[in-house]
């Protein structure tokens, strides 16, 4: 049920970065989510459709990249995937190991449609937009 709070935060992060890059629309989000980060894709999409309505990210596609949990054994050094029913190293049966991946919870990148800087199409200038490095028309 905490997806609502997650999506509020995700939307703000997306809009902040879109504004910095003078985006006209946000087309897609690439999300990197570890297996141990409890979040339900469908639920995120559901809240996104409601919260992002009326923003430049309303049509954005959410792409989830799931990272399996992997551990490294402290005793024998082997790396292995999480087997929740065992929680022991499959090679030496040690119970001491460290998580090396699987708790990711980040927005990796966004695909945006840039705001063309021609005067007639530049309807929505962003007050906090960064200066464009390209030549003005």
């Amino acid at each position: 049920m905490h997806e609502l709070a997650v999506v509020q935060s995700l939307l703000q992060l997306t809009l902040d970065h879109a504004a910095q890059h003078r985006a006209r629309r946000v087309l897609a989000l690439d999300l990197v989510i570890g297996q141990l980060s409890s979040i339900v894709d469908d639920c995120v999409q559901f809240y996104w459709d409601i919260l992002a309505r009326d923003t430049i990210a309303a049509e954005a596609q959410l792409r989830f990249h799931r990272i399996p949990a992997r551990f490294q054994c402290r005793d024998c050094g082997a790396t292995f995937d999480l087997d929740e029913s065992r929680l022991t190293c499959p090679h030496c049966q040690s119970i001491y190991f460290d998580l090396i991946q699987g708790d990711e919870f980040r927005l990796e990148s966004i695909d945006i449609e840039e705001n063309d800087s021609t005067p007639e199409t530049n309807r929505t200038s962003q007050p906090n937009a960064t200066p464009s490095t390209s030549d003005p028309d």
């Binding site: 905490h2 997650v6 190991f97 927005l107 449609e113």
Partner: protein
């Protein structure tokens, strides 16, 4: 019209994490040790908190914050134990977050508080995702929940500084495999402090209180 990919690479809950840092700064500035108790509903959070307050209130100035979806039952119990308690009703949300704590902190005289006890919403999933900015996160498990919880809720068991196993007075009546439970806790958190106790009978309470006092001293030093 041009499209491009913009790198972001930021934690999705960055805003919450920033507020958590601000909470932590405030707590540090006012020399207030803050402890967040998390557990499933019915594990005995409030009972253990009341016991803990009784054991420490002569030595520390204590305040409490209680998070629940509704009612002031738990904050009332803290207040009965003799501390100033603030109730946060989350209005349906399944966890406390850094904003809720920030608001609650304004209702507490931090300059005259040594120990702040926070009782999170009863839930083994959501509270683990939202940093509050506290010094210690403590998980309270209980015997009737079963010995498999560390395996089923690994995220919750990974992010804590101690695990308490409450209701050990009920061990004779449940098929609770202590070795299996401990192995699950250890695997996720090698060397984690572990306190089997009964908030009802008081068994095992002394070890927990001694550890907590040592931790508070280190935080306030």
């Amino acid at each position: 019209m041009t499209t491009k990919t913009v790198a972001v690479v930021e934690n999705i809950l960055k805003a919450n994490d920033h507020l958590a840092e601000a909470n932590r700064d405030l707590l540090d500035r006012t020399a207030t040790a803050a402890i967040n108790f998390m557990a499933s509903p019915g594990a005995g959070k409030t009972s253990l908190i009341v016991r803990t307050i009784a054991a420490l209130k002569d030595r520390y100035r204590i305040a409490g914050i209680d998070g629940d979806i509704a009612t002031t039952i738990d904050a009332d119990r803290m207040a009965e134990a003799g501390v100033h308690a603030v109730q946060i009703n989350t209005g349906g949300a399944c966890h406390l977050d850094a904003v809720m704590l920030q608001n609650a902190l304004t209702q507490i005289d931090l300059d005259h508080t040594d120990l702040l006890i926070i009782e999170n919403v009863g839930n083994l999933i959501c509270p683990a995702s939202f940093q509050l900015g506290v010094h210690l996160n403590i998980l309270i498990a209980s015997v009737p929940e079963g010995d498999d919880k560390p395996y089923k809720y690994p995220t919750m068991y990974r992010g804590v500084q101690a695990v308490i196993l409450n209701k050990i007075d009920l061990l004779p009546y449940f098929d609770f495999d202590m070795a299996y439970f401990r192995r699950g806790v250890e695997a996720l958190n090698p060397g984690l402090a572990f306190f089997p106790l009964s908030a009802k009978t008081g068994e095992g309470l002394d070890d927990w209180i001694a550890w907590l006092e040592g931790s508070i001293q280190r935080i306030l030093a």
